[in-house]
């Protein structure tokens, strides 16, 4: 099956999944007690005012009708207006998506840059001192809660010495870059630890394989053995894990963005849950679902490059 056909087929498969996700999120958040209109108006509101606002928000209609309206707008690529801010959700998300995607991308880079050499080294030097050190460090990194690590890093590198800003996003791209380092590093620790272990185990297994010995016995340069045989084979599991972790990174942005005060989608999600802004919550969940599924497709495509035994079906 050609690459294009495969791509088309996978893209079409996204649609039923998105529909199911939309149904789940739409009905589930409305099950949570808490009235967005009441929360918006506060404790001095009269019952009449709350009723009026509910009508304005479209919340007085039966739930199925609300769902149909939502889906109709979605087909027009209209996510609707935020119940809390009264602005189109796409306007709210424009800048915030940039922040979160940038955070996720830099986290991704840090995770790979940290885990790749360490995992490889650890695997090659199985059970030697380098391996022990790396594995212990990975365990420590896995056990530390992100919000605590973030806070400590801010105190050390932002308050005591002014190397990085204390949270915030900054105004120029130079400032954005400086601002994203600590949050991305904090978020990358867990993923880097998992990837390091994963790569280490793959390398250890591959080194035991007969084709590696065979390649060496043929007299091939060690560099070629490394790149063509060991790394390429280790990549399959590595990439699987990375693509799963990206989904975690998107979700984890909620914590990191709150601790570091980054104006991204995660912090918007948290505040929208508190204000019961159904429209924003639905919109963000659907976008994240779309992103995660796209990454899955890319991962599957990458497999075909790495392992010729895998065919696109």
């Amino acid at each position: 099956m050609s690459m294009l056909n495969y791509l088309l087929k996978r893209i079409i498969q996204i649609i039923p999944v998105l529909i199911i996700v939309s149904i789940l999120i739409f009905f589930m958040i409305r099950l949570i007690p808490g009235d967005p209109a009441l929360i918006r108006l506060g404790d001095k509101a009269t019952p009449q005012m709350v009723e009026n606002l509910r009508r304005e928000m479209g919340l007085d209609k039966p739930i199925i009708v609300q769902y149909v309206i939502f889906m109709k707008n979605l087909l027009k690529l209209d996510l609707g207006d935020s119940l809390h801010y009264h602005v189109p959700i796409v306007d709210l998300l424009k800048k915030r998506m940039v922040v979160t995607l940038f955070l996720t991308a830099v986290t991704f880079i840090f995770s790979v840059v940290i885990s790749f050499p360490l995992g490889f080294l650890s695997g090659i030097k199985e059970n030697k001192i380098q391996d022990q050190i790396v594995r212990t460090a990975a365990l420590i990194a896995l056990s530390m809660p992100q919000f605590w690590v973030g806070l400590i890093l801010m105190i050390l590198f932002a308050v005591s010495i002014n190397l990085f800003p204390v949270g915030g996003w900054g105004e120029t791209w130079a400032q954005h870059l400086r601002a994203i380092i600590l949050p991305a590093f904090t978020q990358s620790l867990m993923t880097a630890a998992l990837l390091t272990r994963n790569l280490r185990n793959s390398v250890v297994d591959i080194l035991k394989m007969d084709y590696v010995n065979f390649a060496r016995s043929k007299g091939l340069d060690n560099k070629i053995v490394k790149s063509r045989y060991i790394i390429k084979n280790a990549m399959i599991f590595y990439i699987t894990l990375i693509s799963m972790r990206v989904a975690y990174m998107l979700g984890g942005s909620i914590i990191i963005e709150t601790v570091f005060s980054l104006p991204g989608v995660g912090s918007l999600m948290i505040s929208s849950i508190y204000t019961r802004d159904y429209a924003v919550i639905q919109g963000i969940v659907l976008i994240f679902a779309l992103l995660v599924m796209s990454i899955n497709i890319l991962t599957d495509l990458a497999y075909t490059y790495l392992d010729p035994r895998v065919r696109l079906e």
Partner: protein, 509 residues
């Protein structure tokens, strides 16, 4: 040689002049303030919630304003006024030459439109304008307001943010939705940029009617929801001022040589809300017993670190007509137990105390009260709920007891009395209290009694009734906890919460 020497002297003179000039302290162009939450609706006629309300003193002005200590009314855009004999006609003489922040002059039509809009738009603060019958502007410097009946607190009503002057043609041009994001007024600042959920950037109003004010070019209010991050940003100099400082951090911050932390006097009070539809809270004796069995001073000492005061009356201490004769009942466990026995609960009772998330003071109150109340046999279960859910239950009268705040928005007792004594208004702060007829009468009278001495009697009596009945238990008055860099001067916030930033500056060397 002589010429060189004189040149040298001249040179030295010029240098010294420069050094004198540059020794003058300069001020920062922008001041950054961190707060817990961003605003979301800045239309003065429709909005609610302190995150929105406290911004208005920067951008809009009315005929009068509350004084900086929150106890009296001062002229704002009205220089003077006359009230007719029958108390029905108020004539205001306006300051001439006032312009909106876009440079256009304020007209009589703008005044009339703004006031009628406040009256005719449904919102939480519409009550301030309900008594207005008609508004006319015979010329741009005179405004005549006719009332439906004599109204004792009309001047306090006029100090409210919804009765400020705004530009009619601008509103008609951009429409309601856009207006909530970008209102314009005559205040010292105007909104330059607003990234929703992130920050609001206020810039100096170039047409402000007091030429030397405001002193600082830009003020940026940044939303930093995490307490720790906000305080770290203040320490690192990323923020100049941080509000909503947790009380347990005030001491620590103040000991930092570069920072100052203070409690600004406020009209903010915390209460225990009792649900009168649930036993035993329908019994006055039980509520009285709980008052005796609560050591409020301990709450102030442990939670507020002493930066607060025990509340006796339900009104704040510095407020108009405060009843100073009411004595704090103190802490008397034996008396509490005796009262409980009289009420039919000799062995105490069991109850659920709802604590809403997101506020560490609520949690601490619950923990301390659980221990205190156990001494009189009241077994309290602390039920921690997410804030939206807790709020829902509270309004639906699905709770036993919980802790919550109230703060005045106007310098007059009638707002709180309206809310606490009149059953139609959300069942007396969602307590379902069976209000004595006398209290309802007094509340209605208080709004209309024009004689100040008689008016005072009314509110003194209302406070006495509240004190005797204990429908809710006032716990303590607490200040606004603010921390700022030592370079900041001129920070002013009146007890009702509105910021007075005309003189706010940050000195830089």
């Amino acid at each position: 040689m002589k010429i060189k020497l004189s040149l040298l002297l001249v040179f030295v003179l010029i240098l010294s002049v420069f050094s004198v000039v540059s020794a003058e302290v300069q001020i920062a162009q922008q001041i950054k303030i961190g707060r817990i939450q961003d605003s979301y609706d800045l239309d003065p006629a429709t909005t609610t919630n302190n995150a929105n309300l406290w911004m208005f003193s920067l951008i809009v002005e009315g005929l009068v304003k509350g004084s900086n200590d929150g106890t009296s009314i001062e002229p704002a855009l009205a220089e003077s006024w006359d009230i007719s004999e029958d108390g029905l006609v108020y004539t205001f003489h306006l300051k001439p030459g006032v312009k909106f922040s876009d440079g256009t002059p304020v007209t009589g039509e703008d005044w009339v439109w703004s006031i009628l809009r406040a009256r005719d738009t449904e919102g939480e603060f519409t009550f301030t304008a309900e008594v207005i019958e008609d508004v006319t502007a015979p010329d741009d410097n005179t405004l005549i307001i006719k009332l439906k009946e004599p109204w004792a607190l009309f001047m306090a009503d006029l100090a409210m943010f919804n009765l400020t002057v705004q530009k009619k043609s601008y509103f008609e041009e951009i429409g309601q939705e856009a207006y909530t994001k970008r209102p314009i007024g005559t205040g010292p600042y105007m909104i330059k940029e607003w990234e929703m959920g992130e920050y609001i950037l206020f810039a100096k109003n170039p047409y402000y009617h007091i030429a030397s004010l405001p002193k600082t070019e830009e003020i940026k209010f940044i939303a930093v929801p995490d307490d720790n991050t906000r305080l770290l940003q203040l320490e690192a100099g990323q923020l100049d001022i941080a509000t909503d400082v947790p009380f347990n951090k005030l001491q620590e911050i103040d000991s930092n040589p570069k920072l100052t932390a203070m409690g600004m006097p406020s009209a903010y009070t915390y209460y225990l809300f009792f649900n009168h539809t649930r036993k035993p809270y329908d019994s006055q004796k039980v509520r009285l017993a709980l008052d005796y069995g609560t050591d409020k001073q301990a709450l102030v000492n442990f939670i507020l670190f002493g930066k607060g005061e025990v509340a006796t009356s339900f009104r704040p201490k510095s407020s108009l007509f405060y009843n100073a004769s009411l004595k704090d009942r103190g802490y008397d466990v034996e008396k509490a137990k005796a009262l409980l026995a009289e009420a039919g609960y000799p062995n105490g009772f069991e109850t659920d105390f709802i604590v809403r998330s997101g506020n560490s003071v609520y949690q601490q109150v619950a923990v301390l009260l659980k221990e205190q109340w156990s001494k009189m046999g009241v077994n309290m279960n602390v039920v921690a709920l997410e804030s939206g859910l807790g709020f829902q239950k509270y309004r639906a009268l699905d709770y036993d007891v919980l802790v919550g705040p109230f703060s005045d928005d106007m310098p007059d007792p009638s707002q709180q009395c309206e809310y606490y004594f009149i059953p139609e208004n959300a069942k007396c702060a969602s307590t379902a209290w069976a209000v004595p007829e006398r209290a309802i009468e007094l509340t209605q009278q208080g709004k209309r009694e024009m004689d100040m001495a008689k008016r005072e009697q009314i509110y003194l009596e209302l406070q006495q009734i509240y004190y005797d009945e204990v429908p809710m238990m006032p716990l303590f008055h607490l200040p606004y906890a603010v921390a700022m860099s030592n370079d900041i001067e001129g920070f002013a916030q009146n007890p009702l919460g509105s910021y007075r930033f005309e003189e706010l500056v940050k000195n830089i060397k």
